[in-house]
């Protein structure tokens, strides 16, 4: 018995279709889970969650205190016989809307009426910068190392490097090479109520340690401590260079804190 080509073709098509259906049924009945939709969903979720996580932020801290309100204390007056370098200088950094002044309540480093140094506002577009903290626009062009305009809320910027330089000069002149007393590290920060937080923290950074040279990375400085373990240790500076024993180490303003005990003040009464 012979078959025509048409009949053979029809039978072949029917047989192929049956085989394809069988393969599909076998796949479905084999018990294997189809994980492709699950993997698609998980991958999409992962990408979405990864994108929503803010990455690359390195957070650091600056410590401070809020001093108690105290009435004038006549017994707290510095004795004239005391060495000026052993007395707390009672330094103040006052930030006004248009200028920042450095002065001292003790009168040893300028007074409120005749401050030690006055710093004007800076950070205009085009001014030199090595970070956004130096620009009113909060944007520093890395290529030009200059402040550029932005749509961000403008911040109040002062010559923080000038403030740092003045404090380094005071610390060097008074304490370099000597054993600096622990109560000489205090400085008081007072600011106009409208001065933004960004200005406050930039000024605080300039008070704590010597700032790195323009364009260089911050190296930090060692802080004075009363840690008993360090007092017993052979070296007066901790192995990580973060703490030092004031009773044994001679003061080096390039490696040690300038005026790190920063207290906030709301003003005078």
């Amino acid at each position: 018995m012979n078959f025509s080509a048409h009949r053979v073709r029809t039978k072949t098509r029917a047989a192929v279709k049956r085989r394809e259906d069988d393969v599909e049924i076998e796949e479905m009945e084999s018990g294997e889970l189809n994980l492709i939709p699950y993997l698609d969903m998980v991958t999409n979720l992962m990408l979405f969650l990864l994108a929503s996580v803010s990455a690359g932020l390195i957070l650091v801290q600056i410590d401070t205190t809020l001093p108690d309100k105290a009435p004038p204390n006549p017994t707290n007056v510095t004795q004239p016989s005391t060495n000026p370098d052993d007395q707390p200088l009672k330094l103040f950094v006052s930030i006004k809307k248009d200028e920042m002044i450095l002065w001292s309540a003790s009168g040893l480093e300028g007074t409120l009426t005749q401050p030690k140094a006055v710093f004007r506002r800076s950070g205009k577009d085009g001014d030199a910068c090595d970070g956004p903290y130096m620009c009113e626009s909060n944007v520093c062009d890395g290529q030009k190392q200059a402040c550029v305009a932005s749509r961000e809320i403008p911040q109040v910027v002062f010559d923080y490097r000038g403030l740092n330089k003045a404090l380094v000069e005071i610390a060097t002149r008074r304490y370099a090479g000597k054993q600096r007393k622990t109560d000489t590290y205090q400085i008081i920060l007072q600011a106009d109520g409208s001065i933004p937080y960004s200005t406050i923290v930039s000024a605080m950074s300039a008070m704590r340690c010597v700032l790195p040279e323009f364009g260089k990375e911050v190296a930090g400085c060692a802080l004075p401590t009363d840690d008993e373990n360090l007092k017993k240790a052979k070296e007066p500076i901790s192995p990580d260079g973060k703490l030092y024993d004031t009773a044994r180490a001679s003061y080096d303003p390039k490696k040690m804190a300038l005026f790190h005990e920063i207290a906030f003040s709301s003003g005078f009464e």
Binding site: V8, T65, L66, I95, G131, Q155, Y197, V201, R208, P212
Partner: protein, 192 residues
Amino acid sequence: MSFTRREARSIIRKAVGRVPEGEEIRHLNIMPMMDMMTILLVAFIFQAATSATAMTAGTVALPRALSDDELPEGASTLIITRNGIVVEGKSIVAVSNGDVDAAEKEGGSLGIKIPRLTNFLAALRGEEEAKKRLIPGYDPAKAPPPELMIIADRTTPYRLLLQVMFSAKQKEAGYKHFRLIVQKSYPMKPSK
């Protein structure tokens, strides 16, 4: 053209043989990958959930500063956003135009104490103390003073910062030491 039965069967067998077999991957162990994916998912969802309250209160643009002191461990966290003050993930008071509403301050618009914040911090401190007392050998007299980490938006006015610190420093709450959290600033240099 015609075919014998044998030829027709041969043609059909060949055509059926060309149908691809179903793909069966029998030896791929995807369990470790699924474990890893599930752990990552849970971690991300947990992180998103814990920061959800802070996000609803507004985002915080941290100021940058030249500091390299590492973050403290175990301190309570207070966040000042442009829209509110959040402590340990709970929104305490609203902030508008850089100030707390006068009704929230003791003494009205010129007041500097925010009682609601002081009370919340006092309760928080009480809970922390209770937890610490459960630790064997814990001596409150020798314990370091409580610290408060302040994370504030860069536009936060000094006035509001002082109000927050003053409220936290009240006898009931007793936070005397504050750590201001900032974003580390790296020097910007022209690329070579």
